[in-house]
Amino acid sequence: MCGICPVCAETGENCMEPDKKRLIIIGIIAFIGIIVLVAAVVFGFTTIVTLVTGVDGLPQELDVRVVGEEDLQNASVIHLTDRDLQQHPVLATAIRKAGSDSNVLKYATVPMTGAECLVLTESFGVYTRNAPILEYDGVYYATRVLLH
């Protein structure tokens, strides 16, 4: 008996060597097949969920537009440092894009996650009723959050 397969165990007959090898090969292929199948299903499902809902909640966008000093009025102004932009890549991208916009009304919208929105709101008040004006390198920016 081969000592592995139930057929041999039931009949008590000697298993032929090729059958034993075939059983081992089938077992290995099945083992690898299950690994690949599970990985493909989980990867595919996660990718679809991510595309539909976003990784971190529903997609949101940070809208940044350049404003003049006359628009400041009594608004609070937060002066951004290089380190602020380094620590907030979404804000850095939005400001860079808005600054390079060639239109008269310079603005940019950049997608962000819910966690990034929370951090930007707590740090710079981007998602508050009277959002402060952000100043960087002598240019003033008004911000708001767009929900989808």
């Binding site: 299950i34 690994i35 990985a39 990034e116």
Partner: protein, 148 residues
């Protein structure tokens, strides 16, 4: 003779079935690990920049959530956490906004794998979604990671 063989054969068959089940469980676990590795690999190539942010709460004992004391081992395992809480990534200039009882004290660039590790170690409970409070030298912190 025939009667005497049956218990041994049954045992062998049972052993074969148990071995197949165990191999199946191992294959599923390996499949999940492979899917996770594929997701991290795909995200690393997406061009996004995951971040670690640390929020400091008021200097009083939290009324809700679990309190986890941070040790030197935590800082050694997660250098980004060390850099934000007591290193060069602590950024007081971003403290001027935000509600009175909490503020983000800084952020650091991390890899997707690090972001996942930090989320697993210090992120919210999977069932209650309550964040644990990390205590260090009398102050309480919450860890927020982004996965853009």
């Amino acid at each position: 003779m025939e009667e005497g063989k049956k218990p041994g054969n049954r045992l062998r068959t049972a052993g074969f079935v148990v071995a197949c089940v165990l191999a199946g469980i191992v294959a599923v676990a390996l499949g999940l690990m492979l899917a996770d590795a594929l997701l991290i690999y795909a995200m690393e190539g997406s061009g996004g920049q995951p971040m670690l942010y640390v929020m400091e709460g008021a200097d009083v004992q939290p009324e809700w959530g679990m309190v986890v004391p941070l040790t030197e081992q935590d800082f050694a395992d997660h250098p980004a956490l060390d850099a934000v809480i007591r290193g060069e990534e602590r950024n007081p200039s971003a403290w001027e906004w935000g509600s009175g009882d909490r503020r983000f004290i800084g952020g650091a660039n991390v890899s997707y794998a690090e972001s996942r590790a930090l989320q697993d170690a210090y992120g919210p409970d999977r069932e209650t979604w309550v964040y644990p409070h990390l205590e260090y030298e009398g102050a309480y912190y919450l860890v927020v990671t982004t996965w853009p």
